[in-house]
Structures are given as structure tokens and as C-alpha cells.
């Protein structure tokens, strides 16, 4: 038998070899001084490792009652599902998709609607240019195509100056100025027109609103792929003049997209993303604790796993404030409820970064895990903690 390898020596010492192996090893050790020396070294090493680990002995451990563990498991089993499961990024995607679907449905509705009901809606250049394409897509029954085209022609011949209708979309002062430059009705004209025009025209005007929204939804930057398909199907000249001009709502979508991109970047770096303040309670499962004396800058949601001592499976809400001195004060919270209070640390703890950034963490008597942090003194954080509502 060759020399015994280190692993087998440790297995032998640990009593984890079979009877046959034990006999073989013992026989070899009886005749091999080198292996006996190595066995002694392995035995000493094993004892040393055990001694070192014995230094890492926890203090007195007082386990909670088994009933408490059972209650915690039961609470988790019966915990109501969170009202919001959709991740914020997906929620934004869903919002955009929904907006597009509504816009598309509105477009199809107005194209299919008989002229007697639509009135002058079809006169909108945008709708006129898109109607044939929708027919190609089967949105309109084949038999209706010709009568519809005839109706469009009639409407085109009798239509009033529809540029006066378009400004009914949300218009900023800058947009109104642009309207004047483009030769549209002067400022104040829409209101005057509503007073002067017949009731039927006012009704038609109101009906035209969803079509305006459609232009917004189809903003090229948002639905670029779809827009490309449409551009192929319709001549460029058919695009209404107004669509070439800046659309305030299109800007809004651009801003929303930029915001969504910023959220994605934030999520990648911190795990937290911004959300409307009104959604905080939905994510938290309860009304969030707040600091009414400070100015709320934004609200974010992120995974509990990103926070020390928090429940990884629950979302955490972060309220970002600014105090009078311009310091950013962040209040992060998770509602653990009665079922989880024994899991989290209840004793208040203050942490401090070398930079002076401090975090004060505690579990309050209502089941909120709270972390208050900022580049302020510990006393300031404690004082703020007492003012939480």
C-alpha cells in the first residue's frame, strides 16, 4: 500500500471509513512511520481547527417558543397577497401599451362610424389619411369601403375650417403662439367658436377629441415600428401639418420615456425605482409613515432584499425628503405587520459611514421597519424619528 492521502487520514481520524478501510489503514500505519507522523499532524490540525472554531461561540441563546415559530409560519401562509405585483417597469410598459390600445380602438371606432354620427370628425386630416389603411387591415367590412369613401368625400366638400378644432388638445401658451404663426384661429378663437357654432358642430367637436388623443399615442418616437409601417402605406404628404409641429402630449410621452429610462438606470444601480407618491401605500400594504415637516422630493420602491434586516420578500418604500438646510433625508420603510416583528431587530441601531452619512434603524410598535438616513447628526435623526407620522 502506498502512503495514505490526506483526505483518507482525516476520514480515518473522523471515524468515517468502513471497517475494511480501517483495517487496511491501521495495517499500513503499523509499518509506515511517515504516515504515522502525518496522522499525528492531522490529528493536531483537526483539534486546532476545532479549538479555533470554539472561539466563535455565540452568547446565550434563548430560542423563542415553538408556538411563536408556528404562529409566524401561519401568519405568512395567511398573509393577504400584495395588492400590486406588477413591477414598476412593467407597469409603465403596460400603461403605454394600454394607451396605444385605447388610441387604436378610438381610431377604428371613428373610421367605422357612419358620417351621420361622426359629422365632421372624418375631416381631420389624420383620420382621413389613416382610414384606407385600416380598411386594408380588415378593420372595416369590404362592403362598407365604398360608401365610407363617398361619405368622406361629402364631408371633405362640406367641412368647415377644421384647424379651429385641433387646438382643443391640451395647449400651452407656447403652442397657442405657434398656432397663430401657422395661420390658425387666433388666441381665444376656440372659446368664441364654441359659443357661436351650432350645437351639432359642438357635438362633433367633442367627438373629435379622442382622435386628437390618437395623434398623441401614435407619436413616432413612441411607436416607431408601427409608424414605419404606416409611413410605408401612406404618402408623406398625407401627414397633417399639425403632426409635423411639436405636440405637447408627444413631448409628455418623450418625458415619460426619459423618466422610464431613468428609472431603469436607477433600478440597476440601487434596486429602487421612482413611483407616484399615491402608489406608496399600495406597495407598502399600509399607509407609509411620513415626515410632514420636510419637503418630499420623490417616492421610490425597491426590494426588501436590498436592505439590512428587512424582509427580502416584501417591497420597501423610500421617501426622499429635503430639509431646510438642503440635506437629503431618506426614510425607508417596510411594513412587517404583527407576523414579522420578531424577525426584525427591534432595538434601535445607528450606523455611520466614514463620510458622516448616518442611518437610524428601528422597528416601531405598529410593525413598520424604519430606516432614517442622511448627512446629519445622530441627534437630528433621532429627533426626526420622533416626529414621524
Amino acid at each position: 500500500m502506498s502512503h495514505i492521502d490526506e483526505g483518507t487520514l482525516h476520514s480515518y481520524l473522523d471515524g468515517e471509513v468502513s471497517e475494511r478501510q480501517r483495517t487496511e489503514i491501521a495495517g499500513h500505519l503499523a509499518t509506515c512511520e511517515e504516515c504515522r507522523t502525518r496522522l499525528e499532524a492531522a490529528e493536531a490540525l483537526s483539534g486546532r481547527a476545532a479549538e479555533l472554531l470554539a472561539e466563535l461561540e455565540p452568547g446565550t441563546v434563548q430560542p423563542p417558543s415553538w408556538r411563536e415559530i408556528e404562529e409566524r409560519a401561519a401568519a405568512r401562509r395567511h398573509a393577504a397577497p400584495r395588492p400590486v405585483r406588477l413591477r414598476p417597469r412593467l407597469a409603465w410598459a403596460a400603461s403605454i401599451a394600454l394607451a396605444f390600445a385605447v388610441g387604436w380602438a378610438s381610431q377604428a371606432y371613428f373610421v367605422r362610424m357612419p358620417a351621420s354620427e361622426v359629422g365632421v370628425v372624418g375631416a381631420l386630416e389624420a383620420d382621413r389619411s389613416q382610414a384606407p389603411q385600416l380598411r386594408q387591415r380588415g378593420a372595416v367590412e369590404p362592403g362598407e369601403a365604398q360608401p365610407e369613401a363617398a361619405r368622406q368625400e361629402q364631408l371633405r366638400a362640406s367641412e368647415p375650417d377644421m384647424t379651429a378644432i385641433q387646438p382643443r388638445a391640451k395647449v400651452t401658451p407656447e403652442e397657442e403662439a405657434a398656432t397663430e404663426v401657422a395661420g390658425r384661429a387666433p388666441e381665444g378663437a376656440p372659446a368664441q367658436r364654441l359659443r357661436d357654432q351650432p350645437a351639432e358642430l359642438a357635438e362633433q367637436d367633442r367627438a373629435a377629441e379622442p382622435a386628437d388623443e390618437l395623434v398623441v399615442v401614435e407619436a413616432p418616437a413612441i411607436v416607431a415600428g408601427i409608424e414605419v409601417a404606416r409611413e410605408e402605406a401612406q404618402p408623406q404628404a398625407a401627414v397633417p401639418v399639425d403632426r409635423a409641429a411639436p405636440q405637447p402630449a408627444a413631448h409628455a410621452f418623450e418625458a415619460e420615456r426619459a423618466l422610464a429610462e431613468r428609472r431603469d438606470a436607477e433600478a440597476k444601480s440601487t434596486g429602487f425605482v421612482e413611483l407616484p407618491a399615491t402608489d406608496a401605500a399600495l406597495w407598502l400594504g399600509k399607509e407609509p409613515r411620513t415626515l410632514p415637516e420636510l419637503t418630499l422630493e420623490r417616492v421610490e420602491v425597491g426590494p426588501g432584499a436590498a436592505l439590512e434586516g428587512a424582509q427580502p420578500g416584501l417591497p420597501a418604500i423610500r421617501l426622499v425628503y429635503e430639509d431646510a438646510a438642503g440635506n437629503e433625508i431618506i426614510l425607508t420603510q417596510q411594513w412587517l405587520g404583527g407576523g414579522f416583528d420578531a424577525f426584525a431587530e427591534t432595538a434601535p441601531a445607528m450606523t455611520v459611514e466614514p463620510s458622516g452619512h448616518r442611518a437610524y434603524r428601528w422597528l416601531d410598535d405598529q410593525g413598520y421597519l424604519l430606516i432614517l438616513e442622511g448627512n446629519v447628526s445622530g441627534d437630528s435623526l433621532r429627533a426626526l424619528a420622533e416626529r414621524l407620522r
Binding site: 492521502d5 490526506e6 483526505g7 483518507t8 487520514l9 482525516h10 476520514s11 473522523d14 468515517e16 492531522a42 490540525l45 483537526s46 486546532r48 481547527a49 476545532a50 479555533l52 472554531l53 472561539e55 466563535l56 461561540e57 455565540p58 452568547g59 441563546v61 430560542p63 423563542p64 415553538w66 415559530i69 408556528e70 409566524r72 409560519a73 405568512r76 401562509r77 432584499a305 436590498a306 439590512e308 434586516g309 427580502p312 420578531a342 424577525f343 426584525a344 431587530e345 432595538a347 441601531a349 445607528m350 450606523t351 455611520v352 459611514e353 466614514p354 452619512h357 442611518a359
Partner: protein, 169 residues
């Protein structure tokens, strides 16, 4: 086996295992309780091995979070310091240094080696260690030999250097 019995028999062992892994007793107790809560949900056939497997995973997650945290924060826990009965300043300092070096040495082991060693110290057999760690039984002796050798070597190295290296799990 009745889980309440497993709890009575192995809760402290599980806390010790976790404490050695993460170095924070309060968190070790939290995680041990969490492991038992999960055991009640899953009702594992081999609860002891299952509990230590879950605990090892929880400790790994905790280690990842601690590693991020450590870059920014220095934990101040005056309450914890205050309640530690110390025999004397010099003895206390020496003991703290030893504990810190053992923690640092343990942290320098490969994950599997460290867990195998800690499981062995908690009374797990080679078969059980192999099951928890997903290793072959035949490799456990070698794994433990490597872990013990490195633990002692790194501890001695840190002691001779007088290093104040931070623990990094």
C-alpha cells in the same frame, strides 16, 4: 420527525452554525428562526439536513448583503457592546482579536470548505455533509483536510502580521 423536537434539539446548533458564518448573533438567531418557519411551510423529509441547507443559503445571502454594506458602513451597536461582560480590558482585547482573526481566517476559506468544516463541527456525518453541500461522500475527507489546514494557516498568518483585516464573508 416532529419539527418541534428538531427545534428543541438543533436550534442552538443552527444558531451557532449561522453565527460562525456571519459573525452576528442577533442575525444568526433571526435566520435560524426563518429557517424553521420555512421548514414548517415545506415539511421536509430530512429536516435537520434541510434546515442547515436553508441556513447555509441564508448565510450566503446575508454575506452578500454584508459585503455591500461593509463598503459604506461601520456598524455602531453600543447596546451590544455594553451588555458583553468583560473580565478586563487587556483580556477582552486579546479575546476580541482572536475572535476577529478566526472570523477572518474562516472567511478566507472557499465556501464549500468552510461550510463542510462548520457542518462537521455541528455533528454532521460525512454522508450528511455530502447531502447538504451536494458533494460526493468520498470528497468530504479531502475537503475537511483542506479546510482545517487553511484555517490554521491563515489564522497563524494573521496573528504574525498583527493584521486588522476586516472580516469578509
Amino acid at each position: 420527525m416532529d419539527l418541534s423536537q428538531v427545534y428543541r434539539e438543533h436550534y442552538r446548533s443552527l444558531v451557532r452554525f449561522l453565527y460562525r458564518r456571519i459573525g452576528d448573533q442577533a442575525r444568526a438567531e433571526d435566520l435560524a428562526q426563518e429557517a424553521f418557519v420555512r421548514a414548517l411551510e415545506h415539511e421536509p423529509e430530512k429536516p435537520r439536513a434541510w434546515l442547515f441547507t436553508v441556513a447555509a443559503n441564508l448565510a450566503r445571502d446575508e454575506g452578500r448583503r454584508a459585503s455591500v454594506r461593509r463598503r459604506h458602513l461601520t456598524l455602531i451597536k453600543a447596546e451590544a457592546e455594553a451588555r458583553s461582560p468583560e473580565p478586563g480590558p487587556e483580556v477582552a482585547l486579546e479575546r476580541r482579536e482572536t475572535v476577529r482573526r478566526v472570523q477572518a481566517a474562516l472567511a478566507r476559506l472557499a465556501g464549500r470548505d468552510r461550510e463542510a468544516l462548520l457542518l462537521w463541527e455541528e455533528g454532521f456525518s460525512y454522508d450528511e455533509i455530502a447531502e447538504v453541500l451536494g458533494l460526493s461522500r468520498g470528497s468530504i475527507g479531502t475537503t475537511l483536510a483542506r479546510a482545517r489546514t487553511r484555517l490554521a494557516a491563515v489564522f497563524d498568518e494573521l496573528k504574525s502580521e498583527g493584521s486588522d483585516e476586516d472580516v469578509a464573508y
